[in-house]
């Protein structure tokens, strides 16, 4: 037996450029990277580069940040083998919560913020418990809580305020942190998105808990047999998505100084589309945070870039549909390549 380290390509000082490219091609975010480049080229061609100027970039970065804070936990849950669509009701519910508590009833803003976040935690906990305790698929569980929370929000808002839309003034500090434009155009939530991406990226790809999440999505039984606390992990992930949804809801209320009962349903499909474009496998066990971020950016650029072209904005949906399908096809191809990848022994390396 030779004494050389058998694990050569990964830890070595500097892999050859070709090897590095090869590794990149086999990563889950490869297709979303191609998609992003394609979309950038497309809109630069048809709309000029003004959507890349600061004000243009702000238009899609703001959309991406709000969507991204939802898509991230939705994507991590999907990697773990679950869906959460209740976010579509938690977003307006937490907007209404903070607006009713701190706007309508004039309680301190901090009370409203805490209550809105607590609402997200409670819904997430209920989702997690129901998924763990019953054999009902997470899609159905969160579909049920989606309707239940939406109904409660509407009913309670009308009872408490007599209206489906409530004004709120967050005050300077809350607005500075959660609901302000930086440099007149960029929403402060962009920085929150970056922070959450960094934390989630660390947990999923660098901490051992990330391995648990992939194992859970790969095969729940085997993960449990390997000693992973799958029930607790599932509940934590639903708590994460509930909290993120309520965070977006409350920051929207602070940004626009008002909250509406029905302002979140579009996040359901948009987040799932972003995540799937980003290379997460719908059935779980495969994906990456970088991919989710790229998918979110791609979606947002199409969504906003259309206004910089001469096209009718309705065409954006067509582009997203085509893009989604193309991305999934590419994801399947790259996943197959990743599976088939077997480095040949040194002698047989291709030129």
């Amino acid at each position: 037996m030779k004494s050389t380290n058998p694990v050569q390509p990964s830890g070595g000082p500097a892999p050859a450029p070709a090897a590095r490219l090869g590794n990149f091609v086999r990563r889950p975010e490869m297709a979303s990277f191609i998609g992003l480049v394609a979309v950038l080229v497309f809109f630069s061609f048809f709309g000029g580069t003004s959507f890349l100027s600061p004000s243009g970039a702000a238009s899609w970065l703001n959309v991406a940040a709000e969507l991204g804070i939802i898509a991230l936990p939705v994507g991590v849950l999907m990697i773990a083998g679950y869906l959460d669509i209740s976010i579509g009701a938690v977003i307006p519910a937490s907007s209404m919560t903070i607006a009713i508590i701190s706007g309508h009833f004039h309680a301190p803003i901090l009370v409203g913020i805490v209550a809105a976040l607590a609402l997200g935690l409670v819904v997430g906990f209920i989702n997690g418990m129901l998924v763990v305790r019953t054999a009902v698929p997470s899609l159905i569980v969160t579909l049920a809580t989606l309707f239940a929370v939406a109904g409660l929000t509407l009913g309670l808002s009308v009872i408490l305020t007599g209206s489906t839309s409530v004004a709120i003034d967050g005050g300077p500090i809350a607005k500075l942190l959660l609901g302000q434009f930086v440099d007149k155009a960029f929403e402060v939530i962009i920085f929150w998105w970056i922070a959450i991406v960094l934390v989630a990226g660390f947990v999923l790809h660098f901490s051992r808990y990330g391995n648990w999440i992939f194992a859970l999505g790969g095969d729940k039984e085997s993960a449990r047999n390997a000693g992973i606390p799958t029930d607790r992990l599932t509940i934590v992930l639903f708590l994460f998505s509930g909290t993120c949804a309520s965070f977006v809801g409350l920051s929207q209320a602070l940004l626009y100084n008002s909250a509406q009962v029905s302002a979140g349903q579009s996040f359901i499909f948009n987040s799932i589309i972003s995540v799937v474009i980003g290379g997460v496998l719908l059935t779980g066990g495969y994906g990456s945070v970088v991919g989710i971020v790229l998918g979110t950016l791609t979606f947002s650029i199409v969504n906003q870039g259309i206004y910089y072209t001469g096209f009718n904005a309705n065409w954006a949906s067509l582009i997203i549909g085509v893009l989604l399908f193309a991305a999934v096809l590419m994801n399947n191809t790259f996943r197959t390549m990743a599976l088939a990848y077997a480095p040949r022994a040194k002698g047989g390396a291709k030129p």
């Binding site: 990964s10 051992r208 194992a215 790969g218």
Partner: protein
């Protein structure tokens, strides 16, 4: 006679009104391969699920080194050193070799104030462990498990069990889906595990494979132990007859023989 590593005494299992196992008693010594043979539906998988903590027996005793034990979960069985490898081995096809090897027991290292998954070390250990079982084609722990062949996956799962200190290795039809070469490789790995002093329980339909590695054989028929014998005590034909329920198998035997002749690629009978 030494105390067996694992002993089953009078195990019964019923699912509601359906009796699946009747009064099964078995023992395995360290460094010994026990082959569990039986036709479809004989109760082999049910028996190993009892051993791996998936089901509790309706009645009967399980002892390890003479001490009674009860497994209330797969975790508690593996804490006692019982590792079960299911038919397709590693069940995380989209995880890397290193990551799936260490699922639930990931090595970590310090990174500033944080602890991070030590990918390099995990890959090194996993690759070394499979290579020790003769799978020298695997040299990159970043490869996905789903890209390995069936035999390589079995080897990975067995190497993993051994690495984490298994004393009893249960293999449920590890060669069933494999071609001749791959199956031979898995059999060689089974013998290596035996040489390391593990007690191996090997479940198979294939009498040839059983006779190649087995020291000790038990045949289940409709949930009851029909025979229990040691290597060399019974001929190939007798075992086949037993597995089929003891009925006269002459004509079927002839059929099988002619099938073997017309279908190349079937394992030749071992001498």
């Amino acid at each position: 006679m030494t105390t067996p590593l694992l002993r089953l005494a009078g195990i019964n299992k019923s699912f509601g009104p359906i009796d699946v196992l009747h009064d099964i008693s078995l023992e395995v010594q360290p460094g010994e391969v026990l082959c569990l043979l039986g036709d479809n539906g004989a109760g082999k998988s049910t028996l190993i699920k009892i051993l791996s903590g998936v089901y509790a027996p309706t009645s009967g005793r399980i002892e390890m080194e003479g001490k009674p034990v009860a497994f209330d979960s797969p975790r508690s069985a593996s804490a006692h050193g019982i590792a079960t490898v299911h038919q397709f081995g590693g069940t995380f096809p989209l995880m890397s070799i290193g990551r799936s090897f260490f699922v639930g027991a990931e090595p970590t290292r310090r990174w500033g104030p944080l602890r991070i998954y030590d990918r390099k070390r995990a890959n090194e250990i996993a690759v070394t462990a499979v290579r020790e079982f003769g799978i020298t084609r695997i040299d990159d722990g970043d490869r996905l498990v789903g890209g390995l062949s069936g035999g390589e996956r079995q080897a990975l799962a067995i190497a993993r069990a051994v690495h984490f200190g298994a004393r009893v290795l249960i293999l449920d039809e590890p060669t069933a889906a494999l071609g001749v070469k791959e199956a031979a490789h898995v059999l060689r790995i089974v013998l290596q595990a035996r040489r390391r002093g593990l007690a191996v329980i090997f479940i198979t339909h294939n009498v040839t494979h059983a006779r190649t590695v087995g020291d000790h054989f038990a045949v289940l028929i409709r949930g009851a132990k029909a025979a229990d014998f040691r290597k060399g005590e019974k001929s190939r034909e007798e075992i086949t007859d037993l597995m089929a329920g003891g009925e006269a198998m002459a004509e079927l035997d002839a059929e099988i023989e002619s099938y073997m002749v017309t279908h190349e690629g079937h394992p030749p009978p071992v001498g």
